[in-house]
C-alpha cells in the first residue's frame, strides 16, 4: 500500500471568515475502491475534496495522507467544470504530465495512448474548447489518469451530462479504479452512487453523519439525515 494511505481526518473543521463549512470531521479512507461522498448542497462535499487535494487547509483538527508529508503528485483532482487550455485535445490531455516535467515527446506518445483509452483519438488535433460537456469530462479524467495518481478526487464528474455522457464517464471511472487508483468522488446522483461506490460517506451540515459500505448505506442507513436523504425528504440545500 502506498504511503499516502490511510487518509486520516481527525476533528477536522473548516471555518473561513467565521462561516462553519466543516466541523468535527473524523474519517479514515483506505487506498482501494471508490468512495462516494453524498450530501445535500452546502454540506461541505466539495470543500472536503479540496482539502484532500491540499488546495484548502483545515482551520482545525488534523489531516494526514498516510505517512506522506502532503498530498503531492500522487493526488489528482477533476473539477465539475474542468478548464481547457486554448490548445488541442492532445495538448490538454498531457497537461498534468507537463507539470511533472515529462518531455514533450513523451507527453505526445502517452497522450495519444490515453486518448485511445477514453475514446477521443479522432479529436486529438481539435480544440479542446470545442468539445461537448461529456467529452470535456472524459478529457479531464484522462488528463488526471495519465499522471497515474494513487488518489483521484472527482467533484461532481457527471453533473449536467446526458445519459450517454454519464455512462462513458462512469466506464472510465471504473477503469481507473481497476488500474489501482483510489477514487473519492462527490455526486448528487444516488443511482450513480449505487453503481460505482464501494463505500459511502454521508455529509450533512458540515459533519460526517455516516460512513458505510454502499449496500449497507442504502439498505439500512443509520443516521436520520441519511434516511431522509435517501427517501428524498432531506432538503437539498442546507444553509449555515
Amino acid at each position: 500500500m502506498s504511503a499516502l494511505f490511510p487518509l486520516e481526518l481527525a476533528a477536522v473543521s473548516f471555518r473561513p471568515n467565521g462561516q462553519e463549512v466543516l466541523r468535527g470531521v473524523d474519517l479514515s479512507l483506505g487506498g482501494e475502491g471508490i468512495t462516494v461522498v453524498l450530501g445535500p448542497n452546502g454540506a461541505g462535499k466539495s470543500v472536503l475534496l479540496r482539502m484532500l487535494c491540499g488546495l484548502l487547509q483545515p482551520t482545525g483538527g488534523t489531516l494526514r495522507w498516510g505517512s506522506a508529508p502532503g498530498p503531492g503528485r500522487e493526488v489528482a483532482m477533476v473539477f465539475q467544470h474542468p478548464m481547457m487550455l486554448r490548445d488541442t485535445v492532445l495538448a490538454n490531455v498531457g497537461l498534468g504530465l507537463k507539470a511533472h516535467g515529462v518531455s514533450r515527446q513523451d507527453r505526445v506518445a502517452r497522450g495519444h495512448a490515453m486518448l485511445a483509452r477514453i475514446g477521443l483519438t479522432d479529436r486529438a488535433g481539435q480544440s479542446a474548447r470545442q468539445l461537448s460537456g461529456g467529452e470535456r469530462q472524459r478529457l479531464a479524467l484522462g488528463r488526471a489518469w495519465l499522471t497515474r495518481p494513487r488518489l483521484l478526487l472527482l467533484d461532481e464528474p457527471t453533473a449536467s451530462l446526458d445519459p450517454s455522457g454519464v455512462e462513458a464517464v462512469e466506464r472510465i471511472i471504473r477503469e481507473i479504479r481497476t488500474d489501482g487508483t483510489k477514487v473519492v468522488m462527490t455526486t448528487h446522483n444516488l443511482g450513480q452512487a449505487t453503481r460505482l461506490a464501494d463505500d459511502v460517506v454521508f455529509l450533512a451540515d458540515g459533519a460526517v453523519r455516516e460512513h458505510a459500505p454502499v449496500q449497507r448505506f442504502f439498505a439500512r442507513p443509520v443516521s436520520p439525515e441519511a434516511r431522509l436523504f435517501i427517501k428524498g425528504e432531506l432538503p437539498w440545500h442546507v444553509g449555515f
Partner: protein, 234 residues
C-alpha cells in the same frame, strides 16, 4: 494643383522610386523599433505574467505602479536615459549616447511597462480561471507562468501591438538620446518633425505614409491572426 497636392505627388514619387534617403530612414526606424519591441516582449510579457501569478506583498500597489508607467511621457524617458548614458552617467562608459543602441534603450524603457501592464491583466484573468486546477496538478510557479503565457498568446498580441505602436510613433525620447543625426540616428518620426519644420513636405509626407502603412499592416496581421485563433481554439 496646390502646394499640398504637389508635395503629395512628390512624396509618392520618392516612395515608388525607393529614394535612398527614405529607405535608409525607414530601415533604421524598423531596426530600432522592432529590436525594442522584441526586447520588450522578452522582458515585459514574462514580467507581467509573473506579477499576475506571484503572491507577494504589495501586489496591488505593483499593479498600480506598472499601470501608471504606461503613460510615462516619452520626453521624460528621453531625459532619464540621456542622463544615464551621458559621459558622467552610470552607463556613460558604454558610449551609447547618440547611437541607435541608445534609441533602442529608450524605446525599451517606454514599451516595457506598457507590455507588462497589458500582459499582467490578460494573464491575471486567465489565472483566476485556472489557478485551482493548475495548483491541483502541482504546477510550479514558473511552469504556470509559461503555460499561461502560451495559453494567452493570442490576447497577448495586443500587448505586442501596443508596443509596436508606441515604439514606432514615439519621437521625444529618440530625439533626445539619438540626436536625429543624418545617416546615423534619424528615424521616421524625428525626420518627419525635422523635415516639416524645414518645409520639406514631400519627405515628411512620404515617411508619414510609410509609418501609417506599417502600423495598419501590423494591426491587420494581428487582427487576422486573432480571428483565425478564435475559430481554431475557442
Amino acid at each position: 494643383m496646390g502646394g499640398l497636392g504637389v508635395a503629395f505627388l512628390e512624396a509618392l514619387d520618392r516612395l515608388f522610386r525607393l529614394d535612398a534617403q527614405v529607405v535608409e530612414i525607414i530601415a533604421l526606424s524598423l531596426r530600432v523599433s522592432l529590436t525594442a519591441v522584441m526586447l520588450g516582449t522578452l522582458m515585459g510579457l514574462p514580467l507581467g505574467a509573473a506579477m499576475a501569478v506571484g503572491r507577494y506583498p504589495g501586489k496591488q500597489a505593483a499593479a498600480v505602479v506598472v499601470n501608471a508607467l504606461m503613460g510615462l511621457p516619452a520626453v521624460v524617458v528621453g531625459v532619464v536615459v540621456y542622463l544615464a548614458l551621458s559621459r558622467s552617467g552610470p552607463l556613460g562608459g558604454l558610449g551609447l549616447l547618440y547611437s541607435p543602441a541608445a534609441m533602442v534603450v529608450a524605446q525599451v524603457v517606454l514599451v516595457l511597462p506598457l507590455m507588462a501592464a497589458i500582459a499582467r491583466q490578460v494573464v491575471e484573468d486567465a489565472w483566476r480561471d485556472y489557478e485551482e486546477e493548475l495548483a491541483a496538478m502541482r504546477f510550479t510557479w514558473g511552469t504556470a507562468v509559461v503555460t499561461l503565457l502560451h495559453d494567452c498568446r493570442h490576447s497577448l498580441l495586443v500587448a505586442v501591438l501596443a508596443g509596436v505602436g508606441r515604439a514606432m510613433s514615439e519621437v521625444g525620447a529618440v530625439m533626445i538620446v539619438g540626436g536625429n543625426i543624418d545617416h546615423s540616428t534619424r528615424v521616421m518620426t524625428t525626420a518627419i518633425a525635422l523635415e516639416t519644420s524645414k518645409g520639406d513636405l514631400p519627405l515628411a509626407l512620404a515617411l508619414g505614409m510609410v509609418l501609417l502603412a506599417v502600423i495598419l499592416m501590423v494591426n491587420g496581421l494581428a487582427y487576422g491572426l486573432r480571428v483565425w485563433a478564435r475559430g481554431r481554439f475557442e
